[in-house]
Amino acid sequence: MNAGLRKLLGTDTLLPYWLLLPTLAFIGVFFLTPLVKAIILAFRSDSGTLTLEYFRRMVADTRFLDALKYTFLLAITIVPIQVVTALAMALLVNTGFKGSRFFLYLFALPLGISDLAAGLIWLSVFTQHGFLNSVLYHLGVIQRPIYFISYQNIGLTFLAVVVAEHWRATAIVMVILVAGLQMISKDYLEAAEVLGARGWKKIWYVILPLLKPSLQSALIIRTIFALQTFAVVLALAGDIIPVLAGEAYFWHFLYHNSHIASAYAVLLMAISIAMTWGYLRFLRSRMEVIRG
Amino acid sequence: MAAEIKLEKVRKTFGKVVAVKDMDLLVEPGEFLVLLGPSGCGKTTTLRCIAGLERVDHGRVYIGGRDVTELPPSKRGIAMVFQSYAVFPHMTVAQNIGFGLRMRHAPKDEIKKAVLEVAKLLQIDELLDRYPSQLSGGQRQRVAVARAIVMRPEVLLMDEPLSNLDALLRLQMRAELKRLHREVGTTTVYVTHDQIEALSLGDRIAVMREGEIVQLDTPNEVYDKPANVFVGGFIGTPPMNFLRAEVRKADGSVYLAVGDFSVEVHGEWQEKLEGMVGKKVILGIRAENIEVRPTPEGGALPARVVVSEPLGAQQLLTVQVGGDVLKVATSPDLSIRPGQTIGLVLTKEKIRLFDEATQEALKLD
């Protein structure tokens, strides 16, 4: 290879950029372009005029308010419960009791389970012929099956979705927290013990503050994904419970209107950004309160 | 196979930090040169510039007369021993040692022979089929050295190879390395922050500080005639002692005033210091050149004992003279207690003088 070419390709200064190029190109084509296109689709009609028509129709749709309501409700209900559960599991496993590694892997199993599969799994539990009804029957609690999933019992249906999502996605948060816990140097914990903080005190005063960055990331990530809940709801509750992502899907696929679908997608994005920003501000000010 | 190394105005910057400042250095063929200095002085960076693992921002590097500045490490005729040994975990000892020869496409039986030979030289021939994870730190270090020597390089570079070993092993390996150098004779550049290693191993020592060489001399010269206060205080166990003094004249002869006391000056200095009456200087003297007397009589410098450390073969005393702290040694049999005032007699010939302002040594010539 002649010196000139080698210099161009191999200099340490340029090499990293060459290695990054494919990734950057891919992201450019598959993230940035669709992002721009989505915004265009949402705001621009086929004839080329800028319009808010699609947003208007989106908002005017009968299912819109419900979709908004349920999406938010899901995120707000699921995420805190999940974080607490995941924290409990992470702390338990972190004590390092005999066999903790095995249980760690076990707890992480749901990571590999698709939201569609999770929905179907819990369908087998909640459906009128499902396991929950069978157990309740055999325990003598009921004579006839309860319709957990139906228009009449929308509250119960919602609960079923919450249970299913909680089961599926807690592992995601747990793994983040476990990694964060492992990064906490044992020295801090031992120093705390020596200074008299044991058990719950140690958790509250030493571990949790040190875990803050992981908790923060976990909260943000989990919330963003929770806002996008889609297949679990569809598999478990069909279209009884509208959600924003689901509406986007229906508008594109069933009603063949990519414009309104894009409007939903843009709305989702805006909400995600807003909530992330909100989290960061909220958590940052909390941190300052604790430090000061 | 020993080549000369020449660095010409080599400069290496990392962001805002200048790690190596326009350095000129000439290493003779077959010489064992030690780059010595505290952390961050640029010694490792200099070594890596010679190796080609860092590109110099300015200046040129020559090995064996060739300009290697633009060449990658593989083409410079060097071999390197890393501080962490960098022994490949996924290869056996034999494969590790033979790696470089395999890269050269040497015939298999030649490689085998060379590997065995070098392994015997470093006494690891029993371990050839083991994996690094099965070896102790000392053994892995030998593998790293073997892997470098087997290449018969023109230049051997070592980056603090002994610093991760425990004290006893370090002592042994030091002697080993010296023996190896005698037998193999490659030009070696050795980086360390341990001045004992430097004094023991080097043909010459380059004492570095903040990217520059402050003194380049044989161990004896660096020890005995440090170029400045920094070198004097860095080399030697315990390091050189320093007293603040002023040049004064009385009765026709020049002497040094340390506080209220006078210290005699060696004949040769009389002339030199004539023109410097009133100058503030720093007096440097090593512990072994200070005689400890139980009491400060007979013109001995009074010193108050602060700490006494029994070190087996001698007693190390930390004493205070005026505002300065000194370390002196005496026989362990003398009973000396903290708070006691003893007397110090300085050997005239071994007194070194430094300019207080510049910290540089005052030279006789």
């Binding site: 179907l120 990519s258 997608a265 | 593989s74």
Partner: protein, 273 residues
């Protein structure tokens, strides 16, 4: 062994076992459902354990129109995704791990941000764009968007993996006669292989499980999740249960192998600085 200690230990184990059961039971249940004979699925009252296990449901599922094809499609898409993602992402991970270059932190931040894009935001416009490019309803098209979704993970994971391989091993190889690439291939790559294999399996699972984009971007060439989703309203219960069971199989299989790297991946992804 003091009493409070024993008490705490017992509570600990009770908690752990409770969680374990909570995680496992639904998986066991879908397994049971998938092997329950068709008629018993709709029976009431329903025994928890069916009278006998049968392969009818599975067989019905597999023989249903389009299922085997969608299965094969899923495998193919997942493999393509795996290949693309690693080929594109691993070099980037290596670059971030090894080099200090201007824009490094910006790049890492950018990667993190892409993780937060809603899938809908990507899939809906891409469906329109694919029509123009002739990629609509193709497996490659799905693989490409899956690659885009998996790429951020891959970059983050491979960065962690390569950071775990000490830099001086490659430097030592370079002083012994290797070119930069040679040092990478002979030293870094073999040592990174287990981690890369885990990343590959993780990518496979991501692609296998993906529902939304696959459903939007295909009509005839569906992947398994897309197929199940689009037929979900019309299909009988036992079909859905069998489908669900099939979907989780590879995940359960692979999770066993990649367990050691779980923390590099998810955890390291966010705890990175």
């Amino acid at each position: 062994m003091s009493f409070p200690y024993l008490l705490r230990r017992t509570l600990l184990y009770m908690a752990v076992f409770s969680f374990a059961i909570w995680v496992l039971i639904p998986i066991v249940l879908i397994g049971i459902s998938a092997f329950t004979p068709k008629n018993e699925v709709y029976a009431w009252p329903r025994p928890i354990i069916p009278s006998h296990f049968s392969l009818e449901t599975m067989s019905f599922f597999l023989h249903s129109y389009g299922v085997v094809r969608s299965l094969l499609n899923s495998v193919w898409v997942a493999l393509l995704t795996l290949a693309f993602t690693l080929a594109i992402g691993a070099p980037a991970g290596y670059a971030v791990a090894r080099f200090r270059f201007r824009g490094r932190e910006g790049f890492r931040l950018g990667i993190l941000i892409t993780r937060m894009f809603p899938t809908a935001l990507l899939a809906v416009p891409l469906a329109v764009m694919y029509l123009k490019w002739g990629l609509y309803d193709t497996l490659i098209g799905v693989a490409l968007i899956h690659t885009a979704m998996a790429l951020p993970f891959a970059v983050i994971i491979t960065t962690g993996i390569f950071m775990g391989v000490p830099k001086d091993l490659e430097e030592a190889a370079m002083t012994l006669g290797c070119s930069r690439f040679g040092a990478f291939a002979r030293v870094a790559l073999p040592l990174a292989l287990p981690g890369l294999a885990a990343a590959a399996m993780f990518t496979f699972v991501i692609s296998w499980n993906e529902v939304f984009a696959a459903s939007i971007l295909t009509v005839n060439n569906r992947t398994l999740p897309a197929h199940i989703l689009t037929t979900i309203q019309a299909s009988p219960l036992y079909f859905r249960f069998a489908g669900g069971f099939f979907m989780i199989l590879p995940a359960l299989f692979f999770m066993f192998f990649i367990r050691r790297y779980l923390f590099h991946m998810w955890g390291g992804a966010t705890a990175e600085r």
